[in-house]
Symmetry: C2
Subunit: 193 residues, 2 copies
Amino acid sequence: MSNNLAPWRSILSRALHRNRSLTNARYFQLATINVKGEPANRTVVFRGFLEETNQLQIITDSRSEKIDQINHNSSSEICWYFPKTREQFRISGNLTIIDKNNVKQSIRVRVWQKLSDAARQQFTWPEPGQPLSDHQENFSLPTPSEKKPFPPFVLLLFTPKKVDHLELRSQPHQRIIYYLDDKKMWMTQAVNP
Amino acid sequence: MSNNLAPWRSILSRALHRNRSLTNARYFQLATINVKGEPANRTVVFRGFLEETNQLQIITDSRSEKIDQINHNSSSEICWYFPKTREQFRISGNLTIIDKNNVKQSIRVRVWQKLSDAARQQFTWPEPGQPLSDHQENFSLPTPSEKKPFPPFVLLLFTPKKVDHLELRSQPHQRIIYYLDDKKMWMTQAVNP
């Protein structure tokens, strides 16, 4: 994939800027397919783009159901709604898992080091999704060092292949589709909303 | 399925009430699987529950890609994040299409009649997702009558089978899973967040 900034990047940056007063403008919904072939959908936090790429960074826990799902089927769609400007980005693409065994440790370390203590501490909690632990003290373990990622910390890289941008503020609504052509160049098409 | 109110209904009602000052608290993200087997994810508006059931009502256009997707695979997951109370409901289940040919016309008519004129007018617009129509006047056709649903108007009924409720405000986070057992009774399980 080309490392050039895709044409939708400036549009997304503008939305992030105009909605910056809302904490949840940095949250989006990530859909994957579970091992039974059913859709799974959850809110995640946008952790910025990987430098000099169009890949979105997301973090997760290696014990999360997402990991099995992505290993089974890496395709995914982000739905990102910006309440203040009433616009939506649907971004389809594929997820790559950067876990403790991946060679790309430097990018995993960089994202770990930017986390808050509260975010880092969550990786010490008992296994997510299992029956609630009777040992509440297991949710108060010491915060791991910022130097080295705690083993269950996983960086996900989302590589977009299509972006569907919808603006609800104008009447009629405006809708533009950005997609990669056969030569991996970004193309733009205005469509009916 | 039992027509009794599921135990998660009061929890969801409370979230809707506490977030009522935010228009977008009535929006959620609906994930489906497209005909290529990839996830699709978009924001939709919650149109209330079908009376005396636990089925969520959503509206769409018969020309939308969703319809082909649901005909191919009806499984779906809703992700509903409430910004003010910082809680999330992930609702998995199946979608049923109530279009102009369905026998259940009375429920389709009831939802149509509750729509705003602006919402009704959208069903007269040119085919969604097609290259932008050169004829802008096609986006200004007369608003259809509120009496009878315009043909492309579709009601979707979402039948939940599992609800995963996560509260981020408490530390540690609280997470409860509600699921239907073999006898179609709702069960509750607290799990690690």
